[in-house]
């Protein structure tokens, strides 16, 4: 019996929603992101109120946190955002491949498979560094409930209570781990979603320049996660 495979050309058109003029998946993602804005606002807003309500008794971030390491992690997330948008541009141009030689050029041209893999690696790297940072912080005595008794940070806080914000360490710990933890959860969800797309859609070359909705929708989510981290990094680590 002869069987036919549905090719890209035979794919049925996807009607755009009449209101916003975009397809429903994209509209849904934008509505979700709008709700996520409010979610992170609640977290960041609470932090701002608590932090500035305490005046100078809050710990200096550089005294407790590893700012250079997180700065490097921020750079990693920014790189992943660029590779994500390059993946989007690649499939829009019909480049489904991994790498391809370009006549007259030393560097090979990256396609969807290459750029999405880079994004996944950078995203997983970000989560890995954050887990490493958490392990180190907890090891030094910084926990969600404050400085652990008998730990290195608790000793420092006794010696210099202003620099280490000894009086409000519990509040500092809980806000820090809640905000960065929820962001880390978002990044983890993004990496898992991208891995799923990579193995089920990208590697079997199911996306085409005519339909690459999944890449655009996950891209929107990923850039939003990057955007939130840009704000969090400044507020939690630098101010």
């Amino acid at each position: 019996m002869q069987t036919t495979t549905m090719t890209d050309a035979m794919r049925p058109p996807v009607p755009a929603e009449p209101g916003a003029g975009v397809y429903s998946n994209k509209l849904g993602m934008w509505v979700f992101l709008a709700s996520d804005v409010m979610f992170f606002t609640a977290l960041i807003g609470s932090y701002i109120v608590l932090r500035f309500g305490m005046g100078s008794s809050w710990a200096r971030p550089a005294a407790v946190l590893n700012v250079p390491l997180t700065g490097l992690n921020t750079f990693l997330l920014i790189c992943s955002s660029v590779s994500m948008v390059k993946a989007y541009a690649a499939i829009a141009d019909g480049k489904k491949y991994f790498l391809r030689k370009v006549p007259g050029k030393t560097l090979q041209d990256g396609g969807l498979k290459f750029w999405l893999l880079i994004t996944i690696i950078c995203g997983a790297g970000f989560v890995g560094v954050q887990v490493f940072e958490y392990i180190k912080l907890v090891g030094h005595g910084f926990t969600p409930s404050g400085y652990r008794e008998g730990s290195l940070l608790a000793e420092h806080a006794l010696a210099d209570p202003v620099k280490y914000g000894a009086g409000v360490a519990g509040m500092y710990g809980s806000t820090f781990f809640t905000m960065t933890g929820f962001h880390g959860f978002h990044v983890t969800c993004g990496v898992i979603s991208m891995l799923y797309l990579y193995f089920t859609k990208v590697l079997p070359e199911k996306y085409s320049p005519q339909d690459y909705r999944g890449i655009e929708v996950i891209g929107l989510y990923w850039h939003f996660v990057d955007l939130v981290w840009i704000i969090l990094f400044t507020i939690v680590y630098l101010i």
């Binding site: 996807v14 409010m38 609640a42 700012v67 690459y212 955007l227 990094f233 400044t234």
Partner: protein, 97 residues
């Protein structure tokens, strides 16, 4: 047939690597400003917030292609922002008074 994945208005694709460079330079500027440059605490706070918002806008406008979308779609993302400001302001007011 219109391509469902295309941004809703036609545009020239931005130079993504240039935006990446801006983001990279601004991140370094932020870290230097926070820990190395001898400026007052208030000025530092304002400059750091400006840089953070600027970076966030670059991501939203060019990577998320918000600059090239229709207003109807932009509104979905823009509407919660004043609501977010109201939320934070209300909580601060409650704390102050």
């Amino acid at each position: 047939m219109t391509n469902p994945s295309q941004p809703t208005t036609a545009h020239v694709r931005p130079n993504y690597m240039l935006i990446w460079l801006y983001l990279f330079v601004m991140t370094i500027a932020e870290v230097l400003l926070a820990f190395e440059l001898p400026v007052s605490q208030n000025l530092k706070l304002i400059l750091l917030l400006i840089l953070a918002i600027w970076k966030a806008m670059l991501v939203a406008l060019f990577f998320m292609h918000l600059k090239f979308e229709r207003w109807r779609l932009r509104l979905i993302f823009i509407v919660p922002l004043p609501l977010a400001v109201i939320l934070v302001t209300t909580v601060i007011m409650e704390k102050v008074f």
